[in-house]
């Protein structure tokens, strides 16, 4: 998936990927896509939940070899 910006959260535990995503998304324009790269398994449930709470659109994730790439479109 094509993203406008990428946020590296490799090696970070909950809640840091969420905290950093909430900060990073402020830099994006409405409609742009943020890619979050993480290895904390919780992110697969946390990012849809965060998106639901914040009104951003959760687009899905891709997982390969312990690396999880999550995509969120800014509202």
């Amino acid at each position: 998936m094509k993203a406008d910006q990428t946020l590296d959260c490799m090696g970070l535990y909950c809640p840091m990927p969420i905290v950093k995503t909430a900060q990073k998304i402020k830099e994006l324009k409405s409609g742009e896509v943020l890619e979050i790269v993480a290895d904390d398994k919780g992110i697969k449930h946390d990012m849809p939940a965060w998106s639901q709470a914040t009104g951003n659109e959760f687009l899905g994730f891709e997982e390969s070899g312990g690396e999880i790439r999550v995509y969120v479109r800014k509202k």
Binding site: V19, P48, A53, T54, G55
Partner: protein, 166 residues
């Protein structure tokens, strides 16, 4: 995911932080910073041992009279003196926990407090325990709100979607 409307600006979370152990403080600040990241308005009300998390690491303890001074010495507090609630083992367990946190680039309690402050989380010391323990606003680190009572907490809590006691 079930359908739920996004967090509105006024959605609140309130927390009573009663415990003053490292692990419980971590749990409290993890939830507080996550809530703030989700757009919630978070208030943490610190009482009893929870006040130790907010105490200055140096020179915060004053207290009037022998009993309060004595108690302040036994119950020093400060973010750097918090211990694990289990497996402290005279400090060995806590030391190891702090090493593990450092190795995994996990924020310290100090960093969590700063992060929470930057995100607009309100940190409020409880007036009754402050009074009993001889603590004043100068006893606490900077960024702590003014001392309030149970009515203030309850008024926030009744407007909150989430309330926790830690």
């Amino acid at each position: 995911m079930t359908d739920a409307a996004p967090v509105t600006e006024k959605e609140k979370m309130t927390m009573v932080v009663f415990s003053g152990e490292l692990d419980k403080a971590m749990a409290a600040f993890i939830i507080a910073t996550t809530g703030a990241s989700m757009g919630m308005d978070v208030t943490m009300f610190f009482t009893f041992w929870g006040l130790n998390i907010l105490k200055k690491n140096k020179g915060g303890n004053k207290g009037k009279g022998f009993k309060q001074k004595m108690f302040g010495m036994l119950n020093r507090g400060g973010s750097k003196r918090l211990k694990l609630s289990r497996f402290n083992m005279f400090g060995l367990g806590t030391w190891m926990m702090k090493l593990v946190m450092k190795d995994s680039h996990y924020p310290s309690i100090d960093e969590f407090i700063e992060m929470a402050r930057e995100m607009g989380v309100k940190l409020i010391p409880c007036s009754t325990t402050c009074g009993m323990f001889g603590l004043a606003e100068e006893s606490f680190r900077s960024g702590v709100e003014s001392i309030s009572g149970a009515a203030f907490f309850l008024n926030e809590a009744r407007k909150s979607k989430v309330t926790l006691f830690i």
